[in-house]
Symmetry: C2
């Protein structure tokens, strides 16, 4: 799908991308389960490979102070501000091979295509491969893009991995200087925009039969921890009318959350992913239940209203059932809207490629959440099979990788700064 429809004379972008995705996926902690973790030998090996590909594509390239790979393709004269493209090359454990690398490798392949044709633009193009987006090792995400955005929090240098090694010591061991992470920071005047291509990690484009989509915003998220306390009791001896069952109360809450989100017309999602009932025996009425709620929406006001409404419903359920209630906010991420002027250029490139323009929010977090601090942000989503991600079954068809690359390439070639 889409092969040969883009303006470039090259028709095999997709195949080249897939070959490099496969090559990069060989760099893993273990051969059975893909894992490429921040500041490990796999990080080093992947960075070396990516830097080589960048140079092959006509870029000057270097490893920055946090371990990101940074390539620069000059414009029609040296030193121009850049259109920055990027994504991450670290993975979760037992990962798929597309989450992150697809955007990074596609960007490199697009620059390689410009280079092959000797095409120079009235701006530079930079490609950044972020060394840590997933936050697997130090339980702190977006380390690579935060360093580039100049918002790296030095206090996380003390965070330790599961072997007790601090990030500070891991950086030194990797050959980097924790004192100089600030050197990775870029400033707003150097960037015209930040554009990231990424697999959708959801099933929407597949359901719409579309290879690509334009992202409206990276949804903010609120996470709540809820505890309901009733009265444990013998499953045989306490009549229904005398029970204060914390689990039937939790079930009512879960149903209320689902119903509230289902009837929202604007992309609100709410998930209870974890639940624990105590004491947890077959023949004992649960006296206490803990569960989590994850709520996301394309705008902050929308999410905040939804959180308040859901909390009110839970309070009503607890009151009606005489359950004690504790709710704590454990996590809160603002929404990062894609800049309308930049998203319009993504949509133009999609339409020019012959695709229906479809806009959707990103429910997952991305490096754009950090990059927004120094640049306007846009994202292109590429369809993935079954919406599966963070799993070895994660898959993108070569034709869809090609479609994504052609949209990105067209967008670069037609880019007009604000």
């Amino acid at each position: 799908m889409g092969v040969g429809m883009a303006g470039s004379g090259t028709s095999s972008l997709g195949d080249g991308i897939v070959a490099r995705i496969d090559r990069l996926a060989e760099i893993s902690e273990t051969p059975e389960h893909l894992a490429r973790i921040f500041l490990t030998p796999e990080h080093r090996a992947a960075a070396d490979l990516l830097l080589a590909w960048m140079r092959e594509a006509g870029m000057s390239a270097h490893l920055d102070a946090i371990g990101n790979v940074c390539g620069r393709y000059e414009g029609d004269r040296p030193g121009l501000p850049c259109l920055m493209l990027g994504s991450h090359f670290d993975t979760v454990r037992d990962a798929g091979k597309w989450d992150g690398p697809l955007g990074l490798i596609t960007a490199i392949c697009c620059v390689a295509d410009l280079h092959r044709r000797g095409r120079r633009l009235p701006f530079a193009v930079e490609v950044v491969g972020f060394a840590d987006e997933e936050g697997v090792r130090f339980a702190s995400t977006l380390l690579g893009s935060r360093a580039v955005a100049g918002t790296f929090d030095e206090s996380v240098l003390g965070a330790k991995d599961r072997n007790g090694l601090s990030m500070r010591d891991a950086l030194v061991k990797f050959g980097l200087d924790p004192q100089h992470i600030g050197a990775a920071a870029r400033v707003r005047r150097e960037l015209l925009a930040y554009v990231e291509l990424h697999i959708e990690q959801g099933p929407v484009l597949e359901a719409e039969h579309l290879a690509v989509g334009a992202v409206t915003a990276i949804a903010g998220a609120t996470r709540l921890a809820v505890r309901l306390t009733g009265m444990a009791g013998h499953a045989g001896t306490v009549p229904m009318a005398l029970r204060r069952d914390a689990l039937t109360g939790a079930a009512a809450c879960i149903t209320a959350i689902e119903e509230f989100c289902r009837t929202d017309p604007d992309g609100l999602v709410g998930t209870v992913g974890y639940i624990h009932a105590m004491p947890g025996a077959t023949n004992v009425i649960p006296g206490q239940v803990s569960f989590t709620i994850d709520i996301r929406a394309p705008t902050d006001p929308h999410r905040k209203l939804a959180v308040a409404d859901i909390v009110r419903r839970i309070e009503a359920i607890a009151r009606e059932r005489q359950l004690a209630l504790q709710i704590d906010v454990t996590h809160e991420n603002r929404t990062v809207p894609c800049a309308p002027w930049l998203k319009a250029q993504v949509s133009e490139a999609i339409a020019a490629g012959g695709y229906r323009v479809y806009e959707l929010p990103s429910g997952a977090g991305h490096d754009g959440m950090a990059m927004i601090d120094i640049a306007d942000v846009a994202m292109i989503f590429v369809r993935c099979r079954g919406g599966i991600s963070h799993h070895p079954d994660e898959h993108v068809d070569a034709a869809d990788a090609d479609a994504g690359a052609r949209v990105l390439l067209r967008m670069i070639e037609n880019f007009r700064p604000l």
Copy 2:
């Protein structure tokens, strides 16, 4: 309450019972947490104390082939068939002191009262203290009463405790002969009836402001293991309409079970005590959920109809939500009805004591479930505070213990065999 209302001249039965409950509770694996487990030194020490109390009460007494304590108070001539009273003296771990011992000690105190007054009846009275009802050590309940009923399953002799010691070896170590458990068995013609007094272990009598109640039946139970399988997914990227969330499906099932049981007019109870959602992460839609259901009703047909109806509702929920469903029956216990003629004599004794006659089913299991095989069964329930049982907070007021004892004593003195 009720002190001095019974026919006997003795007004301090309750205090005597409480003193012995406290004395027996001193025999525990650890002083902090009451635990008296089958075939342990605590079993031996408790049996010695109980046998001494039986002899003091005018009974001949012996330890039987499974470790039960058996006392016999002859009727107006030797060798008459008996009215058998009993309960168990093993406990769960971190137990209350009333569950089991109240019925056993009350029975001994009633016989002691007859003995003190030189009262002989036209039948013998036997008191049995069952050595294992809870089944803590070998995960098999009612071992003591099954041995007496002649239904002891020899295959459980191979069952091992948490230290790997088999029941066979534990019996030998205790000084009993596993070859001769059959010697504990009694036969139907030796028994006129089996009557057990027990704490309610539920909140019904307290809610009714009654010290005692007459049990209608020991409710049978069906336990089901349910597994719902949908599709795991990212909490941010999968829109509500495209989800196959196993936990929202489970919540719908839990709500349906509660609603179905709540609207049943005849004492049906249904409990989901255990639930596990996988993968169990805050930001992942649960792909699979396992939970248990425990369903009890005062009659078998009632319970079986309810189980079938609940299963149909769960099947409909799974179908509607496109979840794969597996339901297994993991446990099935028949209902043991209390014999109407015997229950009538319990009710008579309650009424004669000046109490409102209140009938209720037993949701918990009791030794009568085994004894039904050789005798008609009745039970007297005594109020316990807050319905709490299997917990150190388990409590019975001395006045209620007294009320129970006076009902039992009156029932014994007025007993007419069928």
